[in-house]
């Protein structure tokens, strides 16, 4: 690992968020502060409803906080407008979801290509990128398959290819193995591990699975919206 491993890429300070139910305010995250270093594989654990997904969504720029700051690569994303956030996401974050969230009417190839349509790469360049990404997740032979023609594990691999196609610094994964059998889950974790160790990506993963958490360098425990630090 290179020296960049110690460089802080995400810096979260005093982050709070509450949902309003009627006149009541239900706190979900309370005064969260922590850093993520570049090239880190971080797992977020905690009981259901503890706010893991909410925290992940905040640092991926798809939800908005009440107070606090999230500085990623020098940009405080809590200060960005919706449109600016969309552009920022396209460049900086790759998403991996529990239910893969592939677009059913698009082939594996087209799903992976999707984020590139927002760039000004030529058709040929896009094709090359997509082919490389698909071969990385070992699915070159399934390029023309629709999601419904793929197994869960294969769909998740397509989703990973899609998440890394724009070469984002950070990958966020919300229970990426939550819907998979043990073998497929193992494949996915190996793949994510490879993204970190081989390609230097920073991965933040929410998981309930202790086996998945084992792969991580560090595990953060959330408990009712509060952080319990557990050093790696």
């Amino acid at each position: 690992m290179t020296g960049s491993a110690t460089e802080v890429v995400v810096s979260i300070r005093n982050l709070s968020k509450a949902y309003r139910r009627g006149d009541q305010s239900v706190p979900v995250l309370e005064d969260i502060s922590f850093d993520i270093r570049a090239g880190e594989f971080l797992a977020l654990m905690g009981p259901s409803g503890s706010g893991k997904s909410t925290l992940l969504n905040l640092l991926a720029g798809i939800d908005s906080a009440d107070t606090g700051s999230i500085v990623i690569d020098g940009t405080d994303i809590t200060k960005l407008s919706q449109a600016e956030l969309a552009d920022w996401r396209a460049l900086n974050v790759g998403f991996i979801f529990q239910f893969y969230n592939l677009i059913p009417v698009l082939t594996a190839f087209e799903n992976v290509e999707l984020p590139l349509l927002l760039t000004n790469l030529s058709r040929r360049e896009r094709r090359e990128h997509v082919e490389t990404a698909l071969s990385l997740v070992n699915l070159s032979d399934r390029a023309d398959h629709r999601p419904s023609q793929l197994s869960g594990g294969q769909q998740q691999r397509v989703a990973i290819a899609r998440a890394m196609i724009t070469d984002p610094a950070i990958l966020v994964a919300d229970e990426p193995t939550g819907d998979l059998d043990r073998q497929s889950a193992e494949d996915i974790l190996t793949l994510m591990d490879r993204l970190v160790t081989r390609f230097g990506k920073t991965v933040v993963m929410v998981t309930h699975d202790p086996r998945a958490a084992e792969k991580a360098f560090r595990v953060l425990h959330l408990e009712k919206g509060l952080l319990n630090h557990v050093p790696a």
Binding site: A86, A90, N101, I103
Partner: protein, 385 residues
């Protein structure tokens, strides 16, 4: 274009749902187009009526006759070029279902006043020479397989008896919208028979048609004619042919307005149905739209996708509906020719049809488009699983 491809694939995702929606829109557009055409045709008689012809009828009601003696007196009025007359005969061919309009007319003056009924010179001459001769429009002739020389018997309703005629000519319309269903014969033939059988019905006509030299003087001439017969036993009402047609049409005005309302209601109904379908579709896809937004696609992209799909589906329905309108119009012409001799779908109606289809698509898409545009990624993703 990626968005286009995406819209197409989304539109045909639920084949049955899309198919049903397209058919629904198509049927609605078909109904809309047919109803609009029907209303338009109803008023067509008014629009194609000549401004240089006046019609004089009994002031009390159209069903009361006027004496034949009025002809000469009308001719004296300044500005009058020619005078003709006719009577609604109301004859039936075999049975009531075979309805067509038939009139007893003064042959020469009538044909002169109505140049839009085109006859060959030979047929015209043959008709004028034969007291029992008749001319019939090409549509009606075709309907009953009549040819020149055929004998036709009409059963009188207003004038009892079996009336025999010989077809001496088949007229064609000078314009596409000229009525080619009418049947004309000699008023003399009717009158001379009546003198022998029902003398009190003799020497009367249903209406006079007046050709004027200058259409701008129509109002003045009308007044002059009516003034002639003021305080007589049969007072007259003279108006332009257009106004005369209008008095027929206005009897059914309420019905036509109702049909017009129905044509709009049909569109509103399909709008609601399509809106429901689009809302259902959008709800199912909210997580997909949120996913695309998470990848960096903006609200505008999503809006285009949702809106485009709705427009695509309703446009297909519109095109299909318009496509079905032509065979339907042809069917009306062949099956209901006696009521609608020409059932022409005008270009304006086609544009209106297409516009209505797009309007349905646009309105149906408003709510789902707004949802897709504004949905927050985190909220949208939450809906999965």
């Amino acid at each position: 274009m990626f968005l286009l491809k995406f819209i197409f694939r989304n539109a045909f995702r639920h084949k049955l749902r899309t198919f049903l929606t397209v058919v629904g829109v198509a049927v609605a557009i078909l109904a809309f187009g047919m109803l609009r055409t029907l209303v338009g045709l109803w008023y067509l008689g008014v629009e194609t009526s000549s401004a240089s012809r006046l019609v004089t009828r009994n002031a009390i009601s159209l069903i009361f006759p006027l004496p034949i003696s009025y002809e000469e007196r009308i001719r004296q009025v300044s500005g009058v070029k020619s005078v003709s007359f006719g009577s609604w005969f109301g004859g039936i061919y075999i049975n009531e279902k075979n309805f067509f309009a038939n009139f007893a007319i003064d042959p020469k003056s009538y044909l002169d006043l109505y140049p839009e009924f085109v006859l060959s010179p030979a047929e015209r001459l043959a008709f004028l020479r034969d007291r029992t001769g008749a001319v019939v429009g090409a549509k009606t002739a075709e309907r009953f397989g009549w040819k020149v020389g055929d004998q036709v018997v009409l059963k009188g309703t207003i004038y009892p008896g079996q009336w025999e005629f010989v077809i001496r000519g088949i007229y064609h319309g000078a314009r596409k919208n000229t009525d080619e269903t009418q049947f004309f014969f000699h008023w003399d033939y009717l009158n001379e028979t009546l003198k022998k059988t029902v003398p009190r019905q003799a020497d009367e006509v249903g209406y006079y048609v007046i050709g004027v030299k200058n259409p701008d003087r129509a109002a003045e001439i009308s007044k002059a004619v009516d003034a002639l017969f003021q305080n007589s036993l049969a007072e007259t009402l003279t108006e332009t042919e257009r106004a005369f047609q209008m008095s027929f049409v206005s009897m059914t005005d309420a019905l036509m307005i109702a049909i017009q309302i129905v044509s709009y209601v049909v569109i509103v109904i399909i709008m609601v149905v399509a809106a429901n379908t689009m809302a259902m579709t959008a709800r199912e896809r909210i997580a997909e739209y949120a996913t695309m937004k998470s990848l960096g696609f903006g609200g505008t992209h999503i809006a285009i996708i949702v809106f485009g799909e709705s427009l695509l589906i309703t446009a297909l329905g519109g095109v299909l509906g318009i496509g079905m309108t032509f065979p339907a119009a042809h069917w009306v012409e062949t099956q209901l020719g006696q009521f609608f001799p020409v059932f022409d779908i005008s270009p304006a109606t086609i544009w209106l049809d297409f516009g209505a289809a797009l309007l349905v698509g646009a309105v149906a898409a408003i709510f789902p488009t707004w949802r897709g545009y504004t949905i927050k990624v985190a909220d949208g993703l939450r809906r999965i699983g």
